[in-house]
Amino acid sequence: MKRGGLAFAAMAIATPAFAASGQSATAAGQAQAVIVAPIIAVSLNDLDFGSLTSSRTASGSITVGAEGGATYAGGTTAACAGGGACSGIAPARFLVSGEAGRSYTVSAPTAITATGTLAGGGSAPPLAIDALSVHLESHAGSVTSIGQLDNKGEDRIGVGGRLNVPAGTAAAHYRATLTIMVTYS
């Protein structure tokens, strides 16, 4: 009788060795990624200092604010009494487009140089444009280089600056290139 009992015990211990194969299970995992749309800035209008006059004896300047408005200093005055040739005075404006809600950084130079063409032809001495300032619509009222795209994925940037006009500057048409760069932050 005892021998029979031992035989049963040996069979019971051996059972797990046959238990494993073929069992299979699946887990429904996933992979996630956020591919962000590119951010771009498109020029809406130029930084325009309008038409102005310069003094033969006194240097001057015109400052266009990043949010608009112009002030004259020293020997520089507007070439008109309002309207006409002066109506074009405006800060540069850029439309920034990208992924809604994302913050971004704008980089802009602090100074650039305008090259001129004399009214009678030929090159005029270059003029310095400095004190370039940036205004982000998403940060109205504060000076910052970090903006945030709205729920449409847009923001607007204004850039103003100061055109310095030395005494005796001849009549000429001036142009400069203003490049800004926007990157996600």
């Binding site: 029979g4 009992g5 797990p16 299979s24 995992g29 996933q30 996630q32 990624a33 956020v34 590119p38």
Partner: protein
């Protein structure tokens, strides 16, 4: 005597059948990034992150997927054993969302002895050190996401099924 012996020996024969479960504990996270047209980002099973032709951006931190494999041998025999298992990613993991296509063509894992998991190809792994009725292992899966972008951006959620089969209890 014989009657008593039969009663005590009957218990193991009634033990439950072995069972296997796999749970997805965490998704494979590639985070947020920008690519102009095409780019890749690799998140390894160990958590290292590399990229090509992409600009990483703030957002969800990248990290590997995590799965937990659990084997219930169906009885309480206190005998050390190992498991030979196969791990399979059934097919190519990809998604098209608008102008963005994401494809994960290669995976890696921290399971012992497996350096790469290719879609459709199973890898065999021996899990040693199992002792009790329940033998459980947590493992991580990384991958390389290839992105092709023609326009806009997209949130990609790509199914990543993992099939684990117990081939043998050793």
């Amino acid at each position: 005597m014989l009657g008593a012996g039969l009663a005590s020996l009957a218990a193991p024969a009634l033990a439950a059948a072995p069972s296997v479960t796999v749970t997805a504990d965490q998704a494979l996270r590639f985070g947020a990034f920008f690519t102009d047209t095409t780019g890749t980002r690799t998140v390894s099973a160990t958590g290292s992150v590399t990229g090509s032709a992409i600009v990483p951006l703030t957002g969800t931190a990248p990290g590997p997927a995590q799965f937990t494999f659990t084997y219930d041998r169906g009885n309480n025999a206190n005998v050390a054993y190992s498991l030979l298992i196969s791990v399979l990613v059934p097919g190519t993991a990809s998604q098209v969302n608008g102008g963005v296509t994401g494809t994960i063509a290669r995976f890696d894992t921290d399971l012992p002895g497996v350096s790469a998991l290719l879609p459709g190809q199973s890898a065999q792994v021996t899990l040693v050190g199992c002792q009790r009725q329940i033998c459980s292992r947590t493992f991580r899966v990384g991958g390389t996401l290839q992105v092709a972008r023609t326009s806009g951006g997209a949130d990609l959620t790509i199914p990543l099924p993992i099939v684990v089969t117990v081939l043998a209890e050793l």
